[in-house]
Amino acid sequence: MSRVDGYGTRIDRSRTLRFTFDGREYTGHAGDTLASALLANGVHRVSTSVDLGRPRGIVAAWSEDPSGLVQVEEPFPEPMLPATTIELTDGLVARGLPGRGRLAEVPDTARYDRKHTHCDVLVVGAGPAGLLAARTAARRGERVVLVDDRPAAGGSLLGTERICGRAALEFVADTLVELHANPDVVHLQRTTAFGHYDDGFVLALERRTDHLGADAPRNVSRQRVHRIRAARVVVATGAHERPIVVEDNDRPGIMLAGAARDLLHRHGVLAGREIVVFTSDDAAYDAAADLAKAGARVTLLDARDGVPAAGARRCAEQGVTVRTGAVVTGTRGTEHVTHAVVGGEELPCDLLLLSGGWNPVAHLVSHIRGTLAYDPALGAFRPGEPADDTAGDGVTAVGAANGTLDLAGCLAEGAGERAQPVERTPTKVLWRTDGDPTRQFVDLQRDATVADIARAVGAGMRSVEHVKRYTTIGTAHDQGKTSGVIASGITAELLGVPIESLGTTTFRPPYTPVAFAALAGRERGRLFDPARTTVLHPWHEDAGAVFEDVGQWKRPRYYPRPRETGGIEDMDAAVLRECAAVRGGVGILDGSTLGKIDVQGPDAGAFLDMIYTNVMSGLKPGKVRYGVMCGLDGMVIDDGTVLRIDPERFCVYTTTGGAAPILDHMEEWLQTEWPHLRVHLTSVTEQWATFPVVGPRSRDVIGAFAPDVDVSVEAFPFMSWLDTHVDGIPVRLARISFSGELAWEVSVDGWHARAVWERLVALGGQYGITPYGTETMHVLRAEKGYPIIGQDTDGTVTPQDLGMAWAVSRKKPDFLGKRSFSRSSNLDPLRKQLVGLLPLDPDLKLPEGAQVVELTDALPPPPVPMLGHVTSSYRSAALGRTFALALVKGGHARIGERLTVPVGGALVPVEVTGSVLVDPEGTRRDG
């Protein structure tokens, strides 16, 4: 055991916790991390490295650790967590991870959620600087959010310091009492601000239950993402100690000096008894003295010739041997470090501590493009002056994050004052010592060495961003917290340029890894995306419908029935039956998802004349007109029918997918180009349920349904509509057909929709009324050559390409897209045009998306000239064969020709036809 008495401010020695690591059982204390508990048990070797299989251990004391990754097995499987950040709980099971983790194979039943917070000041980091910043702002009456990623506030404070004449941890406790008493302060520990975005937007992850282990209440979310919008952000995130790269610097038992000091004071763990400290900075003297005082034999080697007087005095008091101008150039050992190589000498040790200075944790400044400037006194990059008005607006770095390393300076900056200069022996900037570059590890997690940087430079890399990507340094879970600046420094040395001119790699969110589950929050499974259902959805479910997604809508695709031979129909069989029923008798479709826009105002007709390619202002009330809409480029964007309700009111039907974008399109033109038009637009998609009743017997059904209405062809002609009442329910009937058959669309408000639908189905029973789905609707419309915008078109298709020049007004002086129709490219006879294709084999259904080429027995060598592609392809009950629609170059002129469609390895000959294959004379329309 390496636990020593009299130390350990964070652990509760009265509570013993059992845990399992790599199959062996150990004990630790409440307040331990997995790393501190392992080291307390003398376990240094955590894993082996990802590529080279070298033994690896704990390097740092918190999230900057580049080395000691574990896979947690219990309580819930989770891959790739640093042992240094796992709070020990009873029953924890983990194992060392050589590089790559394994995702859980069982569903994660924990909850994750999200909270929005707005504040005047967000303070990130509850160390001395952050606490002062939060207290100062709170006393000013500002709304403050204070977040900190450790289990408890205090930051780098170890408990030995004194603040304002009092023990540091008492000062922390008092400050928290004051903050917690203030209703305008939110204080969150175990909360990592992982991303900083524009305008004071910060994402922070709160770990709420993991530290409670098996006692975690089920009703509390495991993790919460806080979305914080702050007028000002104070970055008080401290500094990370930087190692010095030496040969074989990756052995277990080699760590950062501050980490060993942390482990002693926080967890009462003395990680070695025979310690060598190698430093080029002052802070390691305090670590050496503290470790010696706790009972270790310590030798301190300072690469500098001068020593800090106070530090040297403390070391002398504790019996630390200090040697100046001494440099470690390698290590010995296999599973654990046994010696430090110093010149020709090998110093025995069971712990080698490295300290090359401190890197300000300026990630949250860098995330929002704040500049980082090299400070030669630190040997590190610190927040610089904002380069322009976008970066660093309202963002302040204080304390160690700003490069101010002394406690008094941190407190002053936290309080918004200027830190007083302190006397320090300057840090000697020493990225590495002499040695074999293939065994000088820069990024331990990536097994990347000085030799890899040399290779990158040799290959011509001159930017640290390129070196990073070439060597993968800084791309692991720790994102180069300890290795990034060293990689820049070594690259600069190899290139023979100053590091200032190279800069450092840009930090990007997230600061530490964030689980996808936390980002997803409650938006999982059924809540991932809203599902829209029509008011008849339960009826469709009861009828056994198979649904398809159309945008967010769930629409019945077909209604399979039991087969006589047993089992249930597949889609092909169901659709053939539904198609035959519609064309032979009568069918009913739930068309409620069609977009509906109520267009009102004295200028409604003039407005629609600009929106549609044909004339809508001339439509008489009571009449219906089909219309096409184009973009400015003349390409079709939507189509549908328009009902004129009265002189100042129209109801516009859009495609299901077009409901929202077409409303937006109309609003844009109305507001930005034609604000003088007195028109108002309202979506009424969800207010109306619409049911097409289709087929030669539809007149019988509608006649029975609305006995007061004369449904004869003379009284109720095609493309007309009327409002009536059926049993007191207001109902709108319109003679519109999307199949070529005699048909009515029955529209009713949602409250009465189910009653009306069931009445229609009951009345149609004697005529064999058949509910049909979107698949049958598609076949019926394709047989008539009616295109589906977005399936048979792709944003490059004009009305003329679709054979719908008849829907384009020649009389109107202007409408959206008109001028584009006469552009030379739109007059090109070789434009792709919509045609029908009949495979010579009437049983062969072409795959949608298949390419169309010239008739051939053998494909020419690639590139094969493409004529177009299949846009729709079905099996037709009416034709007794398969057919397709396709966009084909110069297609209208090719009607009657034969072409080839390569399908898999086969060359399928097809005949080009007009796009209208069923009832081209239109004889079925009026029944």
Binding site: L632, D664, E673, R819, S824
Partner: protein, 80 residues
């Protein structure tokens, strides 16, 4: 996530907005009078400058109103 100032609703998150490209490109008074090239210039060509640009924005997930705002295309910052 930037904040964008809707003249009707105040500052809201950028995901509530829809971008409408360069502002001030008026629909031609008589499209039929334009040559193909002039018409193509209106439909397809925009200046795309680096720096301040007057743009059309729609508060599409809010009040649904279109408005014009000046934004620096290099820094994304809106002129206040």
């Amino acid at each position: 996530m930037q904040l964008i100032d809707c003249p009707w609703c105040g500052p809201r998150e950028e995901v509530e907005f829809h971008y409408g490209g360069e502002a001030g490109v008026a629909y031609p008074a008589d499209p039929a009078a334009l040559s193909d090239e002039e018409w193509a210039r209106f439909v397809f060509h925009r200046a795309n400058p680096k720096g301040p640009l007057a743009e059309r924005w729609s508060h599409s997930a809010g009040c649904r109103r279109w408005f014009t705002a000046v934004r620096d295309t290099a820094t994304h910052r809106f002129r206040r």
